[in-house]
Amino acid sequence: MGVVTTFANFFAAVGAPVLALCAEVGGILTLLFRVLWCLVPPRFDLDETWRNLHKMGVKSVPIIVLTAFFTGGIMVIQAAVFVKKFGATSLVGWGAGYAVFREVGPMLLGLMFSGRVGSNNTAELGTMVVTEQIDGLRALSIDPVRYLLVPRVISMIVMLFLLTILGDVVAILGAALFGTVLADVSLASFWVSFSQNLHVADVVHGLIKAAVFGFIVALTSCHFGITVKGGAVGVGRAVNNAVVAAALGIVLSDYLLTYALP
C-alpha cells in the first residue's frame, strides 16, 4: 500500500506540472490558430493596429537605442584586449557586425522588447479581463481576438523587426565609436573590415530571427494576458509567466534558427 501511495504521489507530483505545461502550450497553439484564422483573409481593426504600432514601437525607440549602443560597445570592449595583443584591428568591424547582426542584436533586443512591451501587453490584457472589459467586448459582439489580439501580434512582429534594424545600425555605430576610443581602431579601418567581410545574408539572418522573436513575444504575452484568473495577483503571475515563456521561446527558437538559417 505504501509503495503504491509513493508511486501515486510521484506521478501526481510530476504529472501536474506536465499537464499544466501542456495546457499552456495548447492554449498558445490555439491562439496561434485563431490569429492566423483572422489574418487569412485579413479581418482586424486598423485603428487598433495603428495605436499599437505607435505604443509598442515609437515609444520603445529610446530604450532600444540605448541598449543597442552599449551592446555594440560591449562587443568591442570584450575584444579590445585581444585586438591590441594580436594586432587584429582588421577584424574588429567584421567581428562586431557579425555578432550584432546575427546574434546579439536580435536576441538582446528581443529580450528587452519582451520586458518592456510583452510584459506591458500581458498586464494590460490581464487587467482588461479582471475588469470585465473583455466580457464587455464580447457582449457587444466583438471578437477580442480579432479586435485586440491580432493588432497586437502584427504590431509586435513589425515593430521588433523595425527596431532591430534601428538597433543594428546604432550598435554598429557604438562599436565603431568604442573601437576608436578603446582599441585604437580607426573608423576607416573599422569600415573596411565591416563592409568587406559582412554580407546581406548576415543582416537577413538576424532580421528573420527578430520577426520570429516578435511573434513569440506576441503570442506568449497575449495568451497569458487573456487567460488571467484571480484579480491583481493573477495579473502579476501572468506577467511573470509571460516574460519567462517569452525568454525561453526566444532562446529555443534562436538555437533552432541558427541551425536552420544560412
Binding site: 482588461m128 464587455g136 467586448l137
Partner: protein, 246 residues
C-alpha cells in the same frame, strides 16, 4: 421576450446555475437578488450569451441561444445592452468613444462627428455633459456608472441588463441613478433586469423579483409578494436576520 427552461451551468467543476426556469414578458422590470456568489452575475452574462449553459434552453425573442454558434449570437446580442458590475469601460478610449462604441459597431456608416454628437447627447441625458474628452481613469465611481449606463442604453436595445448599477455609491447618487434608469425605462419601454445588493432601492425600481441561492430560484414573482415568501433563505435575507440558514 426571454425564457429560460431548466438552465444548468457548471464553471470550474462547480455548479453555478441549477435547473433555472424563468420567463420575462416584454416591458417587464425584474430585479435579481440573493446572497453573494449565488449566480446573479453569471445568470446576467448567460442571458447575453457570454456563458453557454450545459443544460436547458434559453430563448431570446424566440431564438434559442444555447446551441447558437458564436458568430450567430451577434443578432441576439444587439437586442441587449449591459452595464457590467465593474462598468467595463475601455480604458484606452475616451468617455465619448466608450459611449459611442456599440453604436459604431452597430452602424459602421455613421461618421465620427455623428457618433460624437449621439454620445454627447446620451452623456447629457445621464448628467455628464462636458466629460466627453475625459479618460475613464479621470472619473469617480458614480461617473463611471453613468458612463456605463450611457453606453448600455445608447442603442435603445429592447433588453437592458444592469449588474450592480449602484454598488459602492452614496444614497444620493444611488437615488439619482435609479431616477435615471426609471426615466430611460419609461422612454424606451425596454425589458429591464437589474441586479443589486441594495435591496430597498432596487425594490422601489422593479416590478418583479427573482431570488437566487446557490444557482437555484428560491422566489420568482411580484415584488410585493416577496415579504410573504416563506422560504427560510428568502425570509432571512429580505429581513436581514442574523439567525437562519444563511
Amino acid at each position: 421576450m426571454i425564457r429560460c427552461d431548466g438552465l444548468g451551468l457548471t464553471l470550474s467543476h462547480r455548479p453555478v446555475l441549477n435547473d433555472l426556469s424563468w420567463e420575462l414578458a416584454p416591458g417587464s422590470v425584474w430585479g435579481i437578488i440573493g446572497p453573494p456568489a449565488s449566480g446573479k452575475s453569471v445568470l446576467a452574462k448567460t442571458l447575453c450569451g457570454l456563458f453557454t449553459p450545459q443544460q436547458g434552453t434559453l430563448h431570446v425573442d424566440g431564438v434559442e441561444m444555447t446551441r447558437l454558434p458564436e458568430p450567430e449570437r451577434v443578432t441576439v446580442r444587439r437586442k441587449m445592452g449591459m452595464l457590467f458590475q465593474n462598468n467595463a469601460l475601455f480604458d484606452f478610449l475616451r468617455v465619448w468613444e466608450n459611449v459611442a462604441f456599440p453604436l459604431a459597431r452597430q452602424d459602421p456608416s455613421l461618421s465620427r462627428e455623428a457618433l460624437a454628437a449621439r454620445a454627447g447627447e446620451r452623456l447629457r441625458a445621464v448628467g455628464l455633459a462636458g466629460s466627453e474628452e475625459k479618460w475613464p481613469s479621470e472619473l469617480s465611481g458614480g461617473m463611471k456608472k453613468r458612463v456605463g449606463i450611457a453606453r448600455a442604453t445608447i442603442c435603445n436595445a429592447p433588453v437592458l441588463i444592469y449588474d450592480e448599477p449602484t454598488a459602492g455609491l452614496d444614497p444620493v447618487t444611488t437615488s439619482k441613478i435609479y431616477d435615471l434608469l426609471t426615466d430611460l425605462r419609461t422612454r424606451h419601454a425596454s425589458t429591464v433586469i437589474a441586479i443589486s445588493s441594495d435591496i430597498p432601492a432596487l425594490r422601489r425600481f422593479v416590478d418583479h423579483i427573482l431570488f437566487l441561492h446557490q444557482g437555484q430560484v428560491r422566489y420568482r414573482g411580484p415584488e410585493a409578494g416577496l415579504e410573504a415568501c416563506e422560504d427560510p433563505v428568502v425570509y432571512q435575507f429580505v429581513r436581514g436576520l442574523g439567525e437562519g440558514p444563511l
